[in-house]
Amino acid sequence: MPLLSRLYIRTAALYFLAGFTAGASMLAHKGVFLHPLMWRLLPLHIEFLLFGWTFQFALGVAFWILPRFEGGASRGPEAPVWLAYVLLNMGVLLVATAGLQGDAPMLTLVGRACEALAVVSFAFNAWPRVKPFRVGAHDGLV
């Protein structure tokens, strides 16, 4: 498993634990009152578990298992995947922070823009790899 996949998947696992901790706290609070501001965790819970965990995990696994190219950098250029990692995690943290603050539409907008750019950046690497096995990089772009 390549370094980038390990990074994506381990970061996803950390979001998973953090997101589940927030979710478990809110679920317990639903049953027995714990704190008046507990529901502020809801946007963070959703963001961490959808983008931080599920999507990031899927990207990490995709980078690992999508068909490789013969010769050279077998998984294609890594720079867009690094950029996607940074942008995605910046986006998740910004959107989650905006949710904690209650009403921060600009922060949410910037966060969502980071996440959108992360997906585009990741697609630069993944698109040509969605190809039959034993086909060169150029053929995969068709």
């Binding site: 390990r6 679920l27 317990a28 049953g31 027995v32």
Partner: protein, 148 residues
């Protein structure tokens, strides 16, 4: 496919089917009389899909496909946390499916405390699974730590 993977995926499929059924009930017109707890199942519905189906599918497939850390019967490392995770997650989620709608229509009391138990069980399931999978997210070019 190892046994606990089959358990995760089959349990996930059952939750998927059940969630789709609940989803149908949630869009039944309000003119049709349905028990109040059924109408209160929206959060339960999402969690049946995301925890019951998506998370269990990921857990099962990752346990099956992620790099080995040992050899032979021990190739996937210590499997006990994964079995614990399966039972904790399913017990916790089943408890939620039962208690959450009833707590919404009759807040407090036993249903509220069952939600606390459900939260703890599901959180422990997440922790147990991460404890297992963390060392398996590894560089396959490096030698295995548990090599015999």
């Amino acid at each position: 496919m190892p046994p606990v993977t089959r358990w995760f995926i089959k349990s996930g499929l059952l939750y998927f089917i059940a969630a789709m059924g609940v989803g149908l009930l949630l869009v039944v017109p309000s003119s049709v009389a349905l028990p109040a707890p059924i109408r209160a199942m929206t959060p339960t519905y999402f969690h049946m899909l995301m925890v019951g189906w998506v998370t269990q599918l990921i857990f099962g497939v990752a346990f099956w496909m992620f790099p080995a850390v040992g050899r032979g019967a021990q190739k996937r490392g210590d499997e006990r946390p994964v079995y614990a995770s399966f039972w904790l997650l399913n017990a916790g989620l089943a408890l939620r499916v039962l208690a959450e709608p009833l707590n919404t229509t009759s807040p407090g009391g036993v249903w509220g405390w069952l939600l606390v138990v459900s939260a703890i069980l599901q959180w422990l399931a997440a922790l147990a699974y991460v404890i297992h999978i963390w060392p398996r997210v590894r560089d396959t070019k490096k030698p295995r730590r548990l090599e015999k």
